[in-house]
């Protein structure tokens, strides 16, 4: 079943065509890598498909409903509940502990403090950082921070996770460990992942690849 569809998604910044009629589909539970060199439109595609940015033309559909023509408030709710986003530098709140960071999306969604903390602790445990629950991001290594950020992105049980260069700031050993954890958790929870990366080794963790060049999806690279 198709979970996310981008049809002829086009976005222009000034005179630069960041995306030109890009077609992308993500099936439920599928891990799709979007690859391409710097400036090929990968991050713009993520912004358009996740509803953070409205495309100039084209359509974005999520779970059978149009996403791009909804208001910002409705999109924000969707991003807090059914869509998770993981960025290169986890963007954890520096003043909060690891467990508080992970619990935050649940609290914003109306969960009680106790149940949010319990869920957060389970996810930290799942990613092997339960022992760091009381530490603030500044006290964690880069790999640990990304594991906490991954836990925060998945704690609400999203159907789709957008991951933008999630291991870009890590060395290869820490990066592989975070990727393996991401893929394993996504498969166990049937969470689809749209994984943005310029790195072929990272893309090889995905089920399928879409390659972008100059804002266009290159036909043929779908294996």
């Amino acid at each position: 079943m198709t979970l996310l569809t981008g049809r002829a998604v086009t976005k222009q910044y000034g005179r630069t065509a960041a995306l030109a009629e890009a077609d992308v589909e993500v099936a439920a539970g599928e891990i799709l890598a979007v690859t391409g060199p710097s400036g090929s439109g990968k991050s713009t595609l993520l912004l358009c498909l996740s509803g953070i940015v409205t495309p100039d033309s084209g359509e974005v559909w999520f779970a059978g409903a149009r996403l791009d023509d909804r208001g910002e408030a409705a999109r924000a709710v969707l991003r807090r509940t059914e869509i998770g986003v993981l960025l290169q530098h986890g963007q954890l709140v520096p003043e909060l502990t690891a467990v508080e960071n992970v619990a935050l999306p649940l609290l914003l969604g109306g969960a009680t403090r106790g149940s949010a903390a319990r869920s957060a602790e389970q996810w930290l445990d799942r990613f092997g950082v339960a022992g760091e629950a009381a530490k603030r991001p500044g006290e964690l290594s880069g790999g640990q921070q990304q594991r906490v950020a991954l836990a925060r992105a998945l704690v609400t049980g999203p159907r789709l996770l957008f991951a933008d260069e999630p291991t870009g700031s890590l060395d290869s050993v820490a990066g592989e460990s975070v990727l393996a954890a991401l893929v394993s958790a996504a498969k166990d929870n049937a969470t689809a992942v749209l994984l943005i990366t310029h790195d072929a080794t990272v893309a090889a963790y995905a089920d399928r690849e879409v390659h972008l060049r100059d804002g266009r999806v290159l036909s043929g690279v779908t294996a």
């Binding site: 072929a200 690849e209 060049r213 690279v221």
Partner: protein, 177 residues
């Protein structure tokens, strides 16, 4: 390196004799080892024997008679099939990948070269996925390290393919001025 396919690719541009083929090869692949005349004429003999090329005429300019050769229908088909086939992803493929891109530009056009790079990338990515599975389920460090070795080399190939795909237009202008 496949001298047979290289010569077929060079002949796709039109009839040439042995000396012209050697010069054209050395010009198109300056980083490769220059072709020996003996190798050129031996390969021409085998290609003609296999019905992939045929004599197109002869001339004599202050020396022995020189026979020009052209592709047969079977030669064109063989060349097209080779250009459509991806190489088995493995370490140390670099020369073969470059060779195929160059022949695609010589015998066809930039779309053919790009299509080959796209297909080769898909083949490499499929192999990378298999190797990552091997690494994740490895029962020994040496098994994981062996998988890592190939993954790292395939990754280098993939980077080269990406860079080359971005430079296909410039490469075509250089090879076919």
């Amino acid at each position: 390196m496949s001298t047979r396919h290289l010569l077929l690719g060079l002949l796709a541009r039109g009839p040439q004799h042995g000396y012209e083929l050697k010069r054209a090869h050395d010009d198109a692949l300056p980083s490769a080892k220059p072709l020996a005349f003996g190798q050129v004429y031996a390969t021409i003999g085998r290609l003609e024997r296999d019905g992939l090329i045929e004599p197109a005429g002869s001339d004599r300019v202050a020396g022995p008679e020189r026979v020009s050769y052209q592709l047969t229908h079977s030669g064109r088909t063989t060349l097209a099939e080779w250009l459509d086939a991806v190489e088995t992803p493995a370490p140390h493929l670099g020369g073969a990948l470059l060779e195929k891109v160059v022949v695609a530009l010589l015998a066809a056009d930039r779309d053919t070269a790009t299509r080959y790079l796209v297909q080769q990338r898909a083949a490499h990515m499929a192999r990378m996925r298999e190797l990552i599975q091997v690494r994740q389920t490895a029962t020994s460090v040496s098994e994981a390290a062996a998988a890592d070795y190939t993954i790292t080399h395939l990754d280098a190939d993939l980077r080269w393919m990406q860079q080359t795909a971005a430079r296909v237009d410039a490469l075509e202008k250089e090879i076919r001025p």
